[in-house]
């Protein structure tokens, strides 16, 4: 499945901005599930000091500055991505109980290794062992509180119903996703970026970011590693309707680490397991790690902002 994504952000300022510096995570990352063939920016006014690097989580980051006075800024990112949907059945069939997954993550995996490996040649099984250990080590950071997700007793209470004893982790997460979908009302007017998770839980309202954060918090409360994914989802027009260009938006969901299997995505907003319509931009502990576009502007007075996203299926 191949897509072209056009993501445009337009800022209007009431007063001139003399200098602005920006950081974008708008270029889809490559990993075994997807490949980004091509990605470029179109920015007006022309920026200076472009700089690109991979962040701690392996996401593409772009820094740019506008150093001359402007009252309007347009940032467009155009990317072409091919998805390689994996056979989810196999992953979903993983029957490891959540308690076992939890204790696998809890153990300090390295200690056996660290004793033997100094300067020694490694055989293949040691190598494999080490790869898995590195993966678990990486997963462990998604057990901890992060800037926007703090584990609380309330989150644990809400999640408890899904964590039946000896239930396979995959089923637990599935159940949790369905419950969030069922219990919570999608309401863009209710939350902003700053709305705390406790409010989302209390009022049972929110948007995709909130639902992803909520699920992540619930899972971490039981020491299950969960991370936040920012990206896009293809929307199909209703039968008989024309496809509207630019009517899409960016999206967010979450991913769970299943030992021996790897990371498995879930979309609580749509109650689906992403397969071939979810394009990943970036992942991190929560939204704060992967904000698609943020900047610091000097001057500018009031600003307004509009975003349009177009996800076009090419083949």
């Amino acid at each position: 499945m191949k897509y072209r994504i056009t993501h445009t952000t337009l800022y209007h300022y009431s007063q001139s901005v003399g200098l602005c510096q920006n950081e974008a995570r708008l270029q889809p990352r490559n990993f075994w599930q997807q490949q980004c063939h091509h990605s470029h920016f179109d920015i007006q006014p022309t920026p200076t000091n472009f700089n690109e690097w991979l962040d701690f989580f392996g996401n593409h980051v772009t820094y740019f500055a506008i150093q001359r006075p402007h009252t309007q800024l347009t940032v467009t990112a155009i990317s072409e991505v091919t998805l390689f949907p994996r056979q989810n059945n196999l992953d979903l069939a993983n029957r490891m109980p959540w308690e076992q997954a939890r204790s696998l993550l809890q153990e300090i995996p390295m200690q056996g290794l660290s004793q033997s490996q100094y300067g020694q040649g490694q055989n293949q099984s040691q190598q494999q062992n080490q790869d898995q250990s590195v993966e678990i080590l990486d997963a462990r950071q998604y057990l901890l509180d992060s800037p926007m997700v703090t584990v609380t007793a309330e989150l644990a209470d809400y999640a408890q119903q899904s964590f039946l004893p000896n239930r396979p982790l995959v089923d637990v997460v599935h159940d949790l996703m369905q419950r969030i979908y069922k219990d919570f009302t999608y309401d863009p007017s209710f939350t902003t970026i700053a709305t705390p998770l406790s409010d989302v839980l209390k009022f049972r309202r929110g948007v995709c970011q909130d639902f992803a954060h909520l699920a992540i918090g619930c899972l971490r409360a039981y020491n299950i590693a969960a991370r936040y994914i920012s990206g896009y989802v293809e929307t199909l027009p209703e039968v008989g309707q024309q496809r509207l260009v630019g009517a899409d938006a960016s999206h967010a969901w979450f991913s769970v680490y299943i030992p021996n299997t790897g990371w498995l995505d879930f979309d609580p907003t749509n109650n689906t397991v992403p397969l071939d319509q979810h394009i990943t931009l970036a992942w991190g502990r929560d939204y704060a790690d992967v904000t698609p576009l943020k900047g610091i502007a000097f001057g500018g007075g009031q600003h307004t902002l509009s975003v349009s996203v177009d996800v076009l299926r090419l083949e």
């Binding site: 500055a65 462990r140 863009p188 902003t192 929307t235 749509n270 576009l293 943020k294 610091i296 001057g299």
Partner: protein, 856 residues
């Protein structure tokens, strides 16, 4: 109980010995005073209690006059707390110091290696030598800083440790300070003061000097520069005057010759960091930061920070600026690390830790957690993140309910907590209430990477608890500091921190760029001091007139008083005041006058202006010479002591106004005599000239724009001349009855009279044309146009036209018009100068979607 047998002038050395706990610095483990302490204490003893108390007071006076303060958070009333210094230093023998020095160097090397690993390959985490959770859960681990450390041997430039001596006499490290260690400036100031108050004892006790450390600091900072290694521009980044150790930032900036800046004095353009100065952008090579790392870049780190520089991290990433300490180094302040240091010392250095840390158990591990939970009563429980919300808790002091709560907190997030052994520190003598007493002490040490090695300050900042038997030693809790004397085997040669030029080598003078913030503050220092002076003089004239009115009960006196009272309200802008007020207030104006003088909450009052003056001056503390700062301090302190903290009458106020005016004259005299005629002076004097012009106009408009009866007019004119310090000149020059045209000639048009409007405008136009923006430009800038217009309009006036009166309303219409137009021009001028030169005033904002973009 004090020993009542001791003679009054005895400092109590004998008695001291009977009161000691486990380990005292003076006695060590022996039952006998250590020889070097004995010599020192003998000298003190022969000085006697009274002399020592006098020396202690002298030290406090010097510290106060030098403006050595420590700010206390959350205490707006007494924000700046005077720095307290005990006259008895901590003495450390040279042999012992050597052990400490070696231990500190080893620890600095070790922490440096850990830092490089955490932000580089993370082998420690991969090999399980450090638990990943311990690092990942710590606020100081800044993911955006990964891979940012450049290939240089010592990334950790500055390192401080808090040391205390345990019961068996061994030095322990309580904690490590790695991101922006404070205290070295206080240590230096303590030393400066000690050499003045105990000069003889200091000379006789061969004490190692501190300058070597600062010399190493200067060269260590130059070494980390990526550009201009020969002569890098180094700035000290401070959070600003409200920060607890702001004094030290300003002090070190002045001592080391670096520019003191706040976040918005800097900007990132073209991937480099620039200093916004009056003469344009100046490239910055090295930042010595005193801002916590997560606050340093609102773009990539904490987005709500107003203390940082947007884009700073990217400039670091490009290798265009070096920061000491590097961003992210607070990860080493993780108290849980202490538990792993012995293992890491063996791993990295193949050595045992030479300076042990206090025994620490990190609860992220099961065995350690169980131990901590079982031994809560005997341990100190601390969070791994050190911040204001998280405090150390003494388990034994908790109620059983609180203990249960702590237990469940630890179980919920075990990796957040450590348990630490409770240490009892050694004591040392302190001079309290005229005799010596034992106090628990903590020594902060300072280390800097320089010339491929770590250099340790031979001394440090010793702090003692305020109360006896108190283990909590902190400045926020009101601790007292001590100098630290490391004894030398032989006399230590003085070192200058400045490089010695070769013979006959001429050195290019460095013209320090003036930051726009400093320019702004200088301008306002000038405006406020002038305003204080004008108000004091006018108030003094009013009080004089008030006394005459009460004494002679003359109706003309009374009318004149009313004119002056109105003028006072108008000059100070403290409406409604005496303008259109009811008759009772005019009859007994005393309370309103006292409020105008004393009420600091009232905008425009004398006290409010004094406070604003001191605040602006303090914000640029590094600009003032010691004498100048003392004059600022005197103005403030006397006013506080004599006026604010006293119930005074208007009569007593008058004497204090004389005193205040003398203080102001000292300040203006010192600045005029000691400031070079560069941008800083131009800003300060422009502020003064502008304010003098504006207040003079306000006075003349209020008092003289309408016609008065002859008798009244003459009194009003006399009072105006008096309050503008021009009466004597008038009498000498005109030798005549005081009349309006001549007064206007003198106060408005006479360019040779330093109090006249023409003089102010002339000076302003000279200053403005000398400012960097206008220099060498063929077109007149807006500020030049404004001052030219104001000055020319004034020069084209003549007093006869100005004194033509409109018969309908009795107003000198031309005079009023001129004064009003000039005011408008000058206000606009102030705005234009602010826009053109104080560019830091532009605020930044975070732009990102505030409502989530989403779809269903």
């Amino acid at each position: 109980m004090r020993n009542t047998n001791s003679p009054a002038n005895n400092i109590g050395v004998q008695y001291y010995a009977t009161q000691l706990g486990i380990y005292d610095e003076m006695y060590a483990t022996e039952n006998k005073v250590l020889p070097y302490w004995e010599r020192f204490m003998d000298a003190l003893d022969s000085m006697g209690s009274e002399t020592l108390e006098a020396r202690r007071k002298e030290a406090q006076r010097l510290l106060r006059e030098n403006g050595v303060t420590y700010n206390v958070y959350g205490d707006a009333q007494n924000l700046t707390r005077p720095w307290r210094l005990d006259p008895i230093p901590l003495l450390i023998s040279s042999e012992e110091w050597l052990t400490i020095e070696i231990g500190l160097k080893q620890r600095a090397e070790l922490l440096n290696l850990i830092l490089k690993d955490i932000y580089g390959k993370q082998n420690l985490l991969k090999k399980g030598l450090l638990p990943a959770d311990l690092i990942f859960a710590h606020d100081g681990f800044l993911r955006p800083c990964m891979e940012l450390l450049k290939n240089q041997r010592h990334q950790l430039t500055l390192y401080s440790a808090n040391l205390a001596r345990g019961p068996k006499g061994r030095m322990w490290v309580l904690d490590d300070r790695t991101q922006a260690p404070s205290g070295s400036g206080y240590a230096l100031e303590n030393r400066t003061v000690m050499t003045r108050v105990l000069p003889d004892i200091f000379r006789e006790t061969q004490v190692r000097r501190l300058a070597g450390f600062f010399k190493a600091l200067r060269s260590g900072l130059a070494e980390i520069a990526h550009h201009n290694k020969e002569d890098p521009r180094i700035v000290i980044l401070t959070p600003g005057p409200l920060n607890e150790t702001y004094f030290e930032h300003a002090y070190l900036a002045a001592y080391l010759g670096f520019t003191l800046v706040q976040g918005d004095d800097l900007t990132v353009r073209d991937g480099r960091v620039w200093l916004k100065s009056l003469s344009g952008l100046q490239a910055v090579d090295v930042i010595l930061r005193r801002v916590d790392d997560s606050f340093c870049d609102p773009l990539e780190l904490r987005s709500n920070s107003q203390l940082g520089v947007a884009g700073l991290l990217d400039a670091v990433r490009r290798g265009n600026v070096a920061i000491a300490n590097p961003l992210g180094s607070s990860v080493l302040e993780n108290s849980g690390l202490l538990a792993f240091l012995p293992r890491l010392a063996r791993y990295f250095l193949n050595e045992e830790l030479k300076l042990p840390s206090v025994a620490t158990w990190w609860c992220g591990q099961k065995r350690e957690r169980d131990f901590v939970l079982q031994n809560l009563d005997n341990l100190v429980i601390k969070p791994i993140n050190r911040n204001q919300d998280n405090h150390a808790v003494f388990g034994g002091l908790l109620s059983s309910k609180d203990k249960d709560q702590l237990r469940s907190q630890i179980l919920a997030k075990p990796h957040f907590f450590i348990g630490q052994e409770q240490v009892s520190f050694s004591t040392l003598p302190a001079f309290v209430d005229h005799h010596i007493e034992a106090r628990n002490a903590v020594l902060r040490t300072f280390t800097v990477a320089s010339g491929g090695d770590y250099v340790v300050m031979s001394g440090g900042l010793t702090r003692i608890a305020r109360q006896k038997d108190n283990f909590i030693v902190s400045n926020q809790a009101g601790g007292i500091s001590k100098d630290t004397w490391v004894l030398a085997a032989e006399p230590d040669k003085p070192v200058s921190i400045w490089t010695q030029p070769k013979r006959n080598q001429l050195i290019e003078p460095v013209i320090e760029p003036l930051t726009s913030r400093a320019a702004d503050n200088l301008f306002w220092v000038g405006r406020h001091i002038e305003r204080v002076k004008t108000i004091s003089r006018l108030l003094r004239s009013v009080l004089r007139k008030l006394r005459e009115t009460l004494e002679f009960k003359d109706s003309v006196d009374n009318e004149c008083l009313q004119v002056l009272l109105c003028a006072l309200t108008q000059v100070t802008g403290t409406y409604p005041g005496f303008v259109k007020c009811d008759a009772r207030l005019l009859e007994s104006p005393q309370n309103e006058l006292l409020s105008l003088a004393k009420d600091g909450q009232r905008k425009g009052s004398l006290t409010a202006n004094i406070q604003a003056f001191v605040q602006s001056a303090f914000s640029i503390r590094d600009f003032w010479s010691q004498d100048t700062w003392r004059s600022v301090d005197t103005i403030q302190r006397r006013w506080q002591q004599r006026v604010l903290h006293n119930e005074i009458t208007v009569e007593q106020l008058q004497a204090n106004l004389d005193d205040l005016i003398t203080g102001i004259v000292a300040f203006t005299g010192l600045t005029s005599e000691s400031m070079t005629r560069e941008a800083a002076w131009l800003m300060l004097d422009s502020g003064r000239r502008l304010e003098r012009a504006l207040t003079l106009i306000a006075l003349l408009r209020s008092a003289l724009a309408s016609r008065h009866e002859d008798a009244l007019q003459s009194q009003v004119l006399e009072a105006v001349l008096d309050s503008t310090d021009s009466l004597t000149i008038y009498q000498r020059r005109y030798r005549s009855y005081i009349q309006l045209p001549l007064v206007l000639e003198l106060l408005l048009l006479d360019e040779s009279h330093p109090r006249s409007l023409a003089y102010q405008l002339h000076q302003l136009s000279i200053h403005i044309s000398a400012l960097p923006r206008t220099k060498g430009n063929r077109h007149l800038s807006e500020e030049e146009q404004l001052i030219l217009k104001a000055y020319t309009d004034l020069r084209l006036c003549n007093v006869l036209e100005l004194t033509q009166v409109n018969e309908n309303d009795g107003i000198y219409i031309n005079l009023d018009q001129l004064l009003s137009n000039t005011t408008t021009l000058l206000w606009r001028l102030a705005d234009v100068i602010a826009e053109a030169y104080f560019s830091h005033s532009q605020t930044s904002q975070l732009i990102m979607p505030i409502t989530p973009e989403d779809e269903l």
